[in-house]
């Protein structure tokens, strides 16, 4: 399930033949990250909130 989540974000497993037993390593070229319209504000906190 968690691997599906990473894939949905654009990460690809390395090596490509990912299996349940393989080491977990996912790579994402940041430029290739899917663009999603976000329905929220992302803000840097001041430390007071």
């Amino acid at each position: 399930m968690v691997r599906g989540l990473y894939r949905s974000l654009g990460f690809v497993p390395e090596p490509a033949e990912d299996s349940a037993d393989s080491p977990v390593r996912f790579v994402l070229q940041l430029e290739a990250a899917p663009r999603t319209e976000l329905f929220m504000q992302v803000l840097e906190g001041s430390g007071d909130e």
């Binding site: 974000l9 990460f11 390593r25 994402l28 929220m40 992302v42 803000l43 906190g45 430390g47």
Partner: protein, 604 residues
């Protein structure tokens, strides 16, 4: 029954035969269940020998391995076995380095090569009362006694510093001093400055302040002794024979207290108190006796005792324990006292998950765990019915189920004695937790009413507020990192000390994200830990932890966008890191273009 005998644990009449069955196969889970029985000293010793033989190294099935250095001014050898067995009860495998009698200071100052090679992740200092009060005389005046107290406290604090120098990143636990000295003056002992009994009392008070300032956890056995009686904790004959400060009988509780701290530091304390209703929160059966027939509140001692049980549950909720209800009842009957009984302390809003039906309780507890997105090992069931307790222990051994007396007056202390919810501190998120789960119910209602996902997400009016790791949020970050649940691809754990070290490392990134929406504050729901690769072009994300409460609300996409933005930024330099600034500038100038994920998400 006194807490010294661990009365919240069930007696297992077939324990010996189960031990023999377990000896045939090295099964960590079976061994852990054996440790869940109420032990006596021979049982504890037998289990410890079995544990050492079957699992000299931590098995994969155990929780995070613990390396504990047990250093003392008196004999500590008799404490190791009960600590191992109690830790097993909490699912932890503990390797222990035992210091020699009276050698703690030399071991730390040396340092002892064997101790250094052991590389403890936790150092427990066990100092005895006679050692601490050495040099005291009834003839001392106020000034001399105060100077002695200051000096003794400073010596202990310097031991903490030495322990941290010996094992950077290790947690330090300081045992408080047992009040073993007989009084000299009597009930007004504080008027004799040179009284050893008074000295120990003052030293313990000062230790509490110092531990708070220095980030040291206390093993407050003085408080435990105040509850069970010093005679149960300290046997003068054992002291003179074997220099044992903690009596043999008390070692079982001592081990459990240590194990609670080890478990709490690794985020493994229970989170949810699941309450039965009839004859647990009130006297009588609501379905039979009706609203006017149940016994609760003023008018009878029994009614007041049940009200006190509710008061205690409410106080636990106010400090961060989640409350749930699991009752075999018609739902309408079960809710009636919460909504209409004037003496009820608990109300609907205090309960994060309410399950009342005629299913078996194991099904109800599974539903509660699923509803709260927590593991079954986060649950504690309070139930007056011995048959239900036995059923849950058999069906769901991960759930902790205390033995309780028929008399409700004894229940709050029993729950406290069991220490299921041991915590090393209280975070703001802890205090708000019940409200967060309550708000979740409103979000679910809104989601059910919405006709499209974007519309629903927009209507939540979400704000994701991020900050780099800071001192104020460290405890919550460690909680999130350490609480094991689904979505866990690694078993790496951390400590407050390790996270503090991360704050000072400019190559590493630690982000904490808080989600707010129209229904309230969800608290810190995401933790990201990453490090710049050696060539400066990639960000290695080692930890990506996300509370499942917020999955499916675009937090994951927003988090990734934030990580990408952070990865592309030049690293900021703490002023004290100027020497490395040039190198870091180079790293910062090369835009990070790759995020490598060697990570996990986690339900928190």
């Amino acid at each position: 029954m006194s807490a010294i005998d661990l009365p919240w644990l069930p007696v297992q009449p077939d324990w010996a035969s189960r031990v023999r069955a377990t000896e045939a196969a090295a099964d960590w889970g079976a061994l852990q269940r054996l440790a869940g029985a109420r032990p006596d000293l021979p049982m504890s010793g037998r289990l410890d020998r079995l544990l050492l033989r079957m699992f000299p190294r931590p098995p994969a099935a155990a929780g995070p391995p613990v390396r504990l250095a047990l250093l003392g001014s008196a004999s500590v050898q008799h404490l190791a076995g009960p600590i191992r067995v109690a830790a097993l009860r909490h699912g932890l495998h503990v390797a222990i380095h035992q210091g020699e009698y009276g050698q703690y200071r030399q071991d730390l100052l040396g340092p002892d090569p064997a101790l250094a090679a052991f590389a403890p992740d936790t150092v427990l200092l066990s100092l005895d009362a006679r050692h601490c009060a050495a040099g005291l005389s009834p003839t001392l005046d106020d000034v001399a006694a105060a100077a002695l107290l200051d000096g003794r406290l400073e010596a202990i604090r310097s031991s903490w510093a030495l322990a941290r120098r010996l094992a950077p990143g290790a947690a330090v636990i300081q045992q408080t001093v047992l009040p073993v000295h007989p009084t000299l003056l009597g009930l007004n002992e504080q008027r004799l400055p040179g009284s050893p009994a008074e000295f120990v009392r003052r030293l313990n008070a000062r230790l509490r302040e110092a531990a708070e300032q220095d980030g040291v956890a206390l093993l407050a056995i003085d408080a435990a002794a105040a509850q069970a009686g010093i005679a149960a904790w300290h046997d003068p004959a054992a002291w003179h024979h074997a220099k044992q400060e903690v009596s043999g009988r008390a070692t079982l509780l001592y081990g459990d207290l240590v194990a609670r701290l080890l478990a709490a530091a690794r985020g493994r304390s229970a989170k949810v108190l699941v309450l039965d209703l009839d004859n647990t929160l009130w006297g009588g059966v609501i379905g039979d006796d009706g609203l006017d027939g149940i016994v609760l509140g003023q008018g009878s001692a029994t009614g007041e005792a049940f009200a006190a049980v509710q008061d205690y549950a409410l106080a636990l909720a106010q400090r961060g324990v989640i409350l749930a209800v699991c009752s075999k009842n018609d739902e309408a009957n079960a809710y009636a006292p919460f909504d209409h009984h004037p003496e009820m302390r608990l109300h609907r809003d205090d309960i994060a998950c309410f399950v009342a039906n005629w299913d078996d309780k194991a099904t109800g507890l599974r539903r509660i765990a699923a509803s709260l997105n927590l593991g079954l090992d986060s649950l504690v069931l309070l139930d007056d019915n011995p048959a239900e307790r036995a059923l849950i222990r058999r069906e769901l051994p991960q759930v902790q189920v205390p033995e309780i007396d028929d008399d409700p007056a004894l229940v709050p202390q029993r729950l406290a004695d069991a220490g299921y919810f041991e915590s090393l501190g209280v975070t703001a998120d802890d205090r708000a937790r019940t409200a967060q789960y309550r708000d979740n119910r409103a979000r679910v209602a809104l989601a059910e009413a919405a006709t499209d996902l974007p519309g629903y997400l927009r209507s939540l009016e979400m704000r994701l507020v991020w900050r780099r790791f800071d001192e104020a949020g460290l405890l919550r970050v460690v909680q999130l990192v350490n609480k094991t649940n689904q979505f866990n691809l690694t078993t790496r754990r951390t400590t407050v000390e390790a996270m503090r070290a991360l704050l000072a490392d400019p190559r590493r990134i630690g982000l904490q994200l808080r989600l707010l929406d129209r229904f309230g504050d969800n608290g810190i729901v995401v933790v990201i830990i990453g490090a710049l690769s050696a060539d400066g072009v990639a960000l290695e994300i080692t930890d990506w932890l996300m509370s499942c409460r917020v999955l499916g609300r675009q937090v994951e996409q927003a988090t990734l966008a934030l990580i990408a933005g952070q990865a592309r930024r030049p690293r900021r330099q703490p002023a004290r890191r100027q020497l490395r600034a040039d190198r870091q500038e180079r790293h910062g100038a090369r835009a990070v273009s790759v995020a490598r994920l060697r990570a996990r998400t986690r339900r928190g």
